[in-house]
Amino acid sequence: MKSSLKLALGLASAITASTAVSNVAHAEDLTLCWAAWDPANALVELSKDFTKETGIGMKFEFVPWTNYADRFLNELNSHGKLCDLIIGDSQWIGGSAENGHYVKLNDFFDKEKISMDDFVPATVVGYSEWPKNTPNYWALPAMGDVVGWTYRKDWFSKPELQKEFKEKYGWDLGPPTTFDQLKQIAEFFQKREIDGKTVYGASIYTERGSEGITMGAMDVLYSFGFQYENPKKPYEMEGFVNSEKSVKGLEFYKALYDCCTPPGASNSYMGEGVDAFKSGQVAMHMNFAFTWPGLQKDENVGGDKIGYFVNPKGPDGEQFAQLGGQGISVVSYSDKQESALKYIKWFANKDVQAKWWSLGGYSCLNAVVKDPAFPASQPYAQTFLDSMAIVKDFWAEPSYAPLLQASQKRFHDYVVAGQGSAKDALDGLVKDWTQVFQDDGKM
């Protein structure tokens, strides 16, 4: 009896002790929240080095893009403690800074000698600063991203197609440098038989539910002369959002959708675009640069068959591209802010950033992207660099969500459903955005 009691006591103590030990071991585990996509897998791999160096374990909470904003904005709004670190979308920065969701990093950067001058300027403005263009930092640029294009190099180099194209349009078939050229190429490939299969011109963003069509349309509108507001008078949108140039840009986007996209592509975003390109349906494909490493490795369309080009120029020679990507922030509701800051410090390190790029993440550190070996490091590296030099981003105001919903509706109604004119859509957008800013007391 005594021995069995001792045995039981011994077992109980062992279990208690092991639980306590394991609790101690996991007490400093950090949870990093991000979207579920290829770069997230690369980050898991990269973060193993952080655990090795510091002994701090890393847990990850990845949510598919379609629910990413809903899930994590809910988490932040409810002051949840799930995420210690968050890689939040660039448009969240205003709301997250003003609502106190993110820890301000200025003092930390000063103390650790992390300089924002060491990062690509567009990413600092886009991912870290609020208010924009002021030295108030809420995130470290983590994942550079931008909308660009891929094309089927193997189709473009077919001699019979090159000959036919030259006869029809009078210039050599190759990556387009203007949107007019892009449309001509898309028209040329639309419903063409290649290798016994009907193919289509281009895959573009048309998604209605989250942000798809806005990202796609803006990517074109910027180069046509669209501006969010009067540069001299903030929030004055009349004549800028709905300028003649903007109208032309939106008409162009609709014409491209009508003439040259695959059948049924009325709700297409990143995933659908990748599917259309990988399955050999389209000659050109608009998408964020994060999709390029995966496409490059693809057996059917990657390798020598794929090429990349920067967003083309508009009618007046202006050239911009829609910024994507995110910065990494420390959540102010986390109990492990010290460890989270350690992670940020580690992540800002040059060697870590170089490894981040080699694993498939897009580093924003100048030392990595300005390295002479960088352009040749991947077939898409130069296109990424060129694209990052011409970025513009959507509103990053605290009210970015209703602003985005308004543009989603106005653009989809016109481009996909064909309701009204481009002018109506943009006039309506000015009305909607004005209402949002009036509600916010900014107008």
Binding site: G100, G209, N267
Partner: protein, 315 residues
């Protein structure tokens, strides 16, 4: 026997507990039993309802908990009732509810009438017909999205086979005119069996002797249908219409999965608009007002309908 069991239970009850229970009246005991349910209802139904009513008069936004909440009076209600987009969403909802109910009632009743003939293998066919209703809406939505796919979807190929229109031109989810019908078709496919079941219960409740008496009076089949079958099954049909009406008025899942409200806003029913305002634009006060308006509309219409149903039953 029952008394003896009760006595045994009473004897087995520990004395302290028995003493406590003896002090409770029948009414008290009844309250004791229903109070957990009432508390639960208060917590998860009544309180949120009153909270939503309160929020509907404010500018509260769930994504800005630190902001001062201002009382706006009826401003949210005025804005909603004057918003053209809201009225378009209501029209889209009405179109969807009308056509789904009409089709489901017609097809459901016809199927019930056929199944009620009790032909050979009718039990097997009843089970087969019920299958769509047993599936999860998420599965149905995704699976029909593939069927409607213009390049690989079976639906487009089947229509193409009959009409000779190329399948890639049959863009059910992308075409402004076809998209509302694509949702109506799926909802009808999924929920007609439900209407059929209710109608079948109605048909089976009609006593056989009424038909025998009609036979004796040499009433034709057509006459029997109009004078016996339809009037006696009518309360059941109306009940099915009520259930489907309420259900489809708040339709969200199927529309969200199939079209997401698009193309444009062609299939944006009221619940999709509400979700966008509440959880994407974070206009909590505004969306609470919209939810209250929808609630009052459904509640009012359902009440009028139930009164009509009671009248039919009394006839």
């Amino acid at each position: 026997m029952l008394n003896r069991t009760a006595e045994n239970v009473a004897r087995a009850t520990p004395e302290p507990l028995a003493r406590k229970v003896r002090g409770i009246s029948d009414k008290g005991l009844a309250w004791l039993f229903i109070s957990p349910t009432i508390l639960l209802l208060l917590a998860i139904n009544i309180f949120p309802l009153f909270w939503a009513i309160y929020l509907s008069f404010t500018n509260f936004r769930a994504n800005r908990p630190n902001e001062v909440v201002k009382n706006l009076g009826f401003a949210n209600y005025q804005r909603i009732l004057g918003d053209q987009d809201i009225w378009i969403a209501m029209q889209t909802t009405a179109h969807f509810v009308f056509w789904t109910i009409l089709l489901q009632t017609l097809i459901g009743f016809t199927l019930a009438w056929l199944i009620d003939r009790k032909f050979r293998g009718h039990a097997f066919w009843t089970t087969i017909i019920l299958v769509p209703m047993m599936l999860s809406p998420a599965v149905v939505g995704n699976f029909w999205r593939f069927l409607y796919e213009p390049q690989i979807g079976l639906f487009a190929y089947a229509i193409s086979f009959v009409t000779r229109i190329p399948p890639t031109d049959i863009q059910m989810l992308s075409n402004v005119s076809l998209a509302p019908w694509s949702i109506i078709i799926v909802d009808t496919w999924m929920w007609t069996p439900y209407v059929m079941l209710i109608c079948l219960a109605g048909l089976r409740s009609i006593p056989e002797y009424i038909y025998e008496a009609a036979e004796v009076d040499r009433a034709s089949n057509w006459r029997q249908f109009w004078s016996i079958t339809l009037p006696m099954a009518l309360p059941f049909i109306m009940l099915a219409v009520l259930f489907r009406g309420i259900e489809n008025f708040k339709m969200f899942d199927m529309v969200n999965l199939l079209t997401g409200g698009g193309p444009g806003s062609t299939t944006e029913v009221a619940s999709i608009t509400l979700k966008r305002q509440a959880f994407e634009s974070w206009r909590t006060g505004y969306s609470s007002a919209f939810a209250i308006i929808l609630f009052v509309a459904v509640f009012g219409l359902a009440n009028i309908y139930v009164k009509a149903l009671n009248k039919v039953k009394q006839r």
